[in-house]
Structures are given as structure tokens and as C-alpha cells.
Amino acid sequence: MADPVIVVGAGPAGTRAAQRLVQAGLRPVVVDENERQGGQIYRRQSENFSRPAEKLYGAEAARARALHTDFEALRPHIDYRPGTMVWGVAEEGLLTVRDRAVATLPFSAIIIASGATDRIMPVPGWTLPGVYSLGASQIALKAQACAVGGAPVFMGTGPLLYLVAWQYLRAGVKPAAVLDTNSLATRLRGLRGMMTRARVLAHGVRYMAELIRAGVPLHTGITPARIEGREDGVTAIVWQDARGRLRRTACDAVATGFGLRAETQLADLLKCDFVFDRRFTQWRPRVDPDGRASRANVYLAGDGVLLRGADAAETAGRLAACALLQDRALPVGTDEIADLRGILATMDRFAEGIASAFPWPAHMAAALPDDTVVCRCENVTAGDIRHAATALDSPEINRAKALTRPGMGRCQGRMCGLAAAEILAAARGVPVEQVGRIRTAAPLKPLPLDCTVTP
């Protein structure tokens, strides 16, 4: 029997890709590191929790329910491997680990739907207990019914900042403040793009209005200065307002995020070509409009390649599956492909609107004090990276990494990589794409020391 198609990721993109393959009579293997299907936005709670979908997913409850029930219906037709992490690539297939057991999964083609993580900008004090990524603060609430603190500050930029602050408010935890590094004037620049999806835009406006009505201070155009605290937690965040005045907000947690960062390592291990995407100011695998990578039999969909959000991820997942079917000369309607491309064109404009309304504040990385920890894993500071850039004359991020170790730690630069590249680029006086991107090495994530190998 021929090797199967593997779908990596069971979020919106992976689920819709698998569904389309099943409709064509294939039986894909679906691998996801999570024990439960759903991905980030439609992440499920444990079975013994009882909150209804409306409470968990708000305005997206219907879409969440549809994605979950459609997946359950797929179960008899797919080889589903939950709790299974893909950590490497070998001649024979993907290297996976589940419950400390390592295995090799052969494949004839692969659809990568690996999603995204928060894009992080370091700030002095961000290694204190009580500082979390924005996504983490949402996961605590969604999957565990916990708040990361009683008076959290949400600091960074992007639509998720307001969404999560609003979700906390609704859960009975009033945010101490929402601090956005972008100004209102900047936000208006993205308005035209964002108007392409009026419903989504209206939700965002509503979240802000309700936060204001509840008395949550919303500040725009801020610059974070530092997070203060003790060994057992955060006590305040100090920030500069739009007029340059230093201010302090007392809080017991900080949730921080600056948009998203595509999780692209697997495509790198598969030796796919990458391009620098100016819209999202980051490197990503190069794909054609339907999701074909530069290598045959490799396809990508969802936020793991293009940061267009959950609805686009569903469409792109389906489209990538169609591309695969087409490449195998299996029947796919050209109407279907044209329709999916049409939907994605709107999503593209919307995503570009979001990206220009909430740009990544690269200049803040350049301005970080020398003693700020950038790499949380190994405590490499901004000064260490600048030293690599200048005294050690390292023109490129992998050289800097070899010399001073940012991105060498256990997270492989997932948290610090983008900021480290900005610091290096600023110190060298070159555009960030010129310093390159951190090369991926297997294992993608640390393996337990006591793994066993299964054939």
C-alpha cells in the first residue's frame, strides 16, 4: 500500500484539509501535539469541564462547534494521532513522539497546518513569574478556567490584545489596563483593509467599547519601560505614554503579545524555500496561491504559513487539500478552487489591514537597554547580541547565535528569535531580512530523556 498523506495540526486548517481528503476517498494520518483537537482558537477544555461553547468561544461559538463536530464525524475515516509531536524528519518519514515513545511515520505527501505562536517583544522584567504571553493568558482562561492574575495588564498590540482583555472582563477579572504600542492614527491606516470584513471589525470595536464602559483604561501609542516585581510575582508595569511621560500601573500579572509568529520549523527541516514577507515582517515558507511549497508533495495552510486568521485557515486547509488532489490527478472541480481562492483574496486584504493597523514595533527592539534579557532560556541579553553584531562582527543571526547563543536554548528562538534579529539588524544598520533567520534543528522541541523507540 502507498504511504499515507499526513496532516500535521488539527486546528481549523488541518481539520478542513483532512476533511477534504476524506471526501476524495483518502485516509489521511492526522497528527497533533495536543491531546484534544481544535487548535488555538477552538481549543477544547477537558472532558470534565462544563462551560457551554458560547461561554468559551463567544461570537465564534457556532464555528467552534462546527469544527469540533465535523472532526468527530471524520474520526472513523482518518488515522488520528493526538498527543503526538512531530520533532524531526528522516529519510523514512516524520519522526514523532507520543508518551515518551519515538516512532517514524512514512508519508507520500504532507500538509503542514502548524499554526502560530505569539510574537514577543522582550521588556525589562519579563522573566518574572506572572508575565505571560497573551495567548497563554487566553489558554489559561479557555482550557483551564483560570485567570493569570486578579488585576492583569494586557500590553502589546493587535486585535487579540483587546479580545483577550474583554474575555477576562467577561470572566469577572477586570484588567488593570490595556496598553497598546500603536497609536490610534496608525490603526486608522489599516481601516480600509479591515472594512473588507465588517462583521469582524464590528466585534473588535465592541470589545473596546465594553472595556471602556467597564472603566478599563485603554492607552495607545505607549512604550513599555519595565515590569516590576518580586520573586513571587509582578507588582507593576512602568510605561511611557504617547506624550513621553513615565507612568506606573499596579498589577499582579502582565499578558504580552505583538501579533503572531508563524510556526514554520517543519517546512525548514523539509528544506522548503523561504521568503521574507514584508507585510508580516517575518520569514515564511514560499507557497503558491493554493499552498504548494517549493518541494513536491509538501503543502502548507493556515497561520503556520500566512497569518490570515482562523476563517482563512479553514479555507486554506481545504484549498491545500484540493491542490494535493489536483497534483494526483484526482477529481476536483475548478469552480471549487476558484471559489476558495476568491474567499482567500478577501481574507488577504483583511489580514493586510490588520498588519498595517497594528504593526510590529521593531524600533523598540533596537532601543532595549543592554541588560534586558532577550533569550529567556539562556538569559542572553540585548547587549550580548549587540556585542556579537559589532565587536565579534557577526553579520547574520546564525553566526550571532553560535557566538552568543540567542535562539540556542530549548525553545529554539520561538520566543526571542524575531526580536533578536531586529536587535542584530539595528546594530549592523541593515534591514532585518539581511540578517536572515534562525536555522531549524531537530528535535523541534526537547524530547524526554527516557524515550523508547517503536518500529
Binding site: R51, A136, V148, A171
Partner: protein
């Protein structure tokens, strides 16, 4: 010790008991190890390089800042491991600090 996390819902679940740094604490079935530890305290581990407390960061398996040790020397990623009744965990006496 102050608790970092607070529960906002789903508190009717069955309790589980675990031992953290020698003290018995309670958590709820369906908690991750991270939730169990941070509703009872403010630390998961100490950083290998500066010895300072860390309490996780991403909660989604990306940052690797939540690995904790069991008393028997097994390492667990706290944000993606469900808590089990009777678990015995250590957040302070870790090999790289006492070696």
C-alpha cells in the same frame, strides 16, 4: 506562598492531591500540572542560568519554560501534562542547583 493563578469557573470538579516540595496540596481533576502548581504557588522551576524562579510563559508547548521534575527524577512539561492524583513534584531542589 502567593498563588499566581486564580480560578474563575469550573470549581465543582473532583479534587486530586499531590505533593509539591514535600508539602501536600490539592488541585482539581482536569488541571494541567502547571495549573495545579500555580493555583498553589508562584513557581514551577528555577532557571538553569540565573537560578531565579520561573512560572512558564506560553502555556502552549512552545517556550519550554515549564519543565518540572518529579521526585523520582522524571521531567514533565507542566503546561501539556494533566495532573494525576498522588504526583510528587519538586520546584526548588533541582539537580543543577544542588549538584
Amino acid at each position: 506562598m502567593t498563588a499566581l493563578f486564580r480560578r474563575v469557573d469550573e470549581t465543582g470538579r473532583r479534587g486530586v492531591r499531590l505533593v509539591v516540595d514535600g508539602y501536600e496540596v490539592t488541585a482539581l481533576e482536569g488541571d494541567t500540572v502547571l495549573t495545579a502548581l500555580l493555583t498553589n504557588g508562584s513557581r514551577l522551576r528555577r532557571n538553569e542560568f540565573d537560578g531565579k524562579p520561573r512560572a512558564g510563559f506560553c502555556l502552549m508547548g512552545a517556550c519550554q519554560e515549564c519543565w518540572v521534575w518529579t521526585e523520582s527524577g522524571e521531567e514533565l512539561r507542566a503546561c501539556s501534562t494533566d495532573v494525576r492524583d498522588g504526583m510528587r513534584l519538586v520546584t526548588k531542589e533541582v539537580p543543577w542547583l544542588t549538584r
